[in-house]
Structures are given as C-alpha cells and as structure tokens.
Symmetry: C2
Subunit: 191 residues, 2 copies
C-alpha cells in the first residue's frame, strides 16, 4: 500500500537491532485518517471471506482493528494481556512471549464472545515473530472457530511470523512488507 | 445520548459493588458502529474548542478516542501504562492508581508528541474515580499544554471523578451519566 510505505519512509526510524519505530503515526501517536484508510483496505481485501468478527490484542492493534471492523460491519474483540490468572474458567487463554519486553503474558478472550459459527479476521499492527498471532490461533483452536485471515499493517517478512501464518494455511495480507533493512533504510518486498 | 443509554440498559450488567460491566460493546468486545457514533458526537460537542490532539490511556479508551480524532481531523495519542520505569527522560509520566486492579501504574507520553501550542481533548471509556484523567492532567501541566475538554463515554456521577474535572474548570461531556444504581438497574442523570 503505497501511502503506507511512503509514510514509513518519511516518518519511521530504524533503531539498532532492526527495530522499526513508527510511534508517531501507528502505535503511540496515531493518525486516525490513515487508520481509516488501512481499515478500508483490509475490509476490501477480506470482503468475500465471510468474516463475522475481527480479533486483535491490546493495545496497538486496536486502532486499525476497530476501523477494519467498522468497514466490514462486524464486532471487534481485543484480547487482554495480563500476568497469569488463577480464575480463568470463563476465558479462552493463551501464552504469548514478547521478544521486545522479554516477558511471558497470557492473553484472553471471554468465552461469551466466540462461538463455533464465527469466522474471524485477526488484525495487528506488526507481524515479526508472530507470537501474538500464534496466541490468537491457539484461542481460535480452543474455541473451534475458523481463522479466515490475518491482516497486519507492517510485516518484517524475514522474521518467522510470516512463515508461521503461511504454514497455517491462513490468507495473510500485509499492507507494508519489509524485505530488509539496509544502511538505515527500509526495503519493501515487491509483490 | 439516547442510543448509548438504551444500549447500557439492554446489554450492561451490574455486578456487586456497583460495577457496570459493558464488555460486550465497549471495552472487550467493541461495537465499531457505536464507537463511530460516539466519536461523531464528541467531535460535534468540541468542534469549536480548537482541539489539536486527542489524548487517552490504553487500552479501553483507544476505540472511542480514535473515532473522535478521526471526526475532529487531529492526531490521537494513547498514554502507555507500565510499572515504574528508570529511564524516563524522554517521557512525560504520571502515577495512576487503579481501584479496579488495586495497583499503581505509571502512564507516559513521549515528549516529542506534545508541545506548548497544543490544546488537547481527553477521551476515555469510563469516569469513576478519575485517576486516569488526573494522570493526564498531570502530564498536561508538565507539558504546559491546555486541556480544552474531557469526554467520557460513561460517567458514574456519584463518584469523585466528575467533581475532579468540574473543579479543574475543564468542560466535561459524558455521553451517558449514571446517577445511581438501584435494585440492579441504572438511573441516568436527567441533564
């Protein structure tokens, strides 16, 4: 998506360790017009997938997810992150390891909000190692629902999250796909 | 706002301790069409206030805040919650006590995203004890920016957050204002 690639080139910062910082328009300060455009594009690409709900994980996924859900005309659910809980009978839970923060968290979704007829679209801001997506896959398996797609604003194609989604046989849409970082600049994948 | 009051009556649950649970449309499962309507209404009510940015706190404030910012045509910033940090020179931070979770958190906003010319609108899902709003007031004071308004989806008028905002002289808009809980039902304030 050209406007997104242009925005990343213009406003993104590459930190040591190939960390792409886009906190001025995506995950701290948020550009709502851009979120609306991203949501419109995800909705367009998954228009015929029969999506009944959009799932994401708090917090950075919420803004693009709510816009996508708005344009698909379906509810959005954000999984909550927390330290391991004791009373979880009413929740679907999964473990998620954060490479950035180097901690294990549980993510959870209330059982009331998923039923076996659901076909869900997972939306997130970043796909790198794919831990958050794997956690939502785990929840979907437990809830016996179908994951009909994964949409991420930015993927780092060279990290293992991309292959994880492909190997699961789930359609993946990345609105910007980073092939490499070279000399402090971003190279986008061509397809 | 009648559609919101109707929705609370229809889908809200009152738990022991006067906790209103609205996690089926506001703060876990989210109704994006309703968020769009709430954002439209906040933007209408603050249209002449010269707002340059919308502020909220992760995570439940993000969905209504991004819709409000969309309709005002300004950026949205969500403050991040975390345990106390050591390296905070680049952040504005404030302490926030959560009555629900009975823990102290820091909230923070990167200094790059606030400048003294900003006039901000604070948006949140709930106003009860007002701790999150007070934290954002503290950050606004440190950043020397003007808080031109506070907009909350639901306020519990009988708790101290309402008076805290009034005492600060900041215009307050609550789209649903709960006067009392009686016999398991909600009574809305009349004005």
């Amino acid at each position: 998506m050209k406007i997104l690639e242009d925005r990343i080139r213009q406003d993104g910062t590459i930190l040591p360790g190939n960390v792409l910082k886009v906190d001025n328009f995506l995950n701290h300060q948020v550009d709502p017009q851009l979120m609306d455009q991203l949501g419109t594009e995800f909705a367009r690409q998954f228009a015929d997938a029969g999506i009944t709900k959009v799932l994401t994980v708090e917090s950075s996924g919420i803004a693009p997810a709510v816009m996508t859900a708005l344009h698909l005309g379906v509810p959005m659910i954000f999984a909550r992150k927390h330290k391991s809980l004791t009373l979880t009978d009413h929740l679907y839970t999964a473990k998620v390891y954060s490479y950035t923060k180097q901690v294990n968290n549980d993510i959870s979704i209330d059982r009331r909000f998923l039923d076996p007829n659901d076909k869900v679209l997972i939306i997130d801001d970043f796909l790198a190692n794919g831990q958050a997506v794997q956690g939502l896959f785990d929840i979907a398996r437990d809830a016996q629902i179908e994951v009909a797609g994964v949409g991420v604003v930015i993927e780092k194609r060279f990290q293992k999250g991309h292959q994880l989604v492909v190997d699961a046989g789930v359609p993946l849409v990345a609105l910007a796909s980073i092939a490499a970082f070279e000399n402090g600049t971003v190279t986008f994948a061509q397809d």
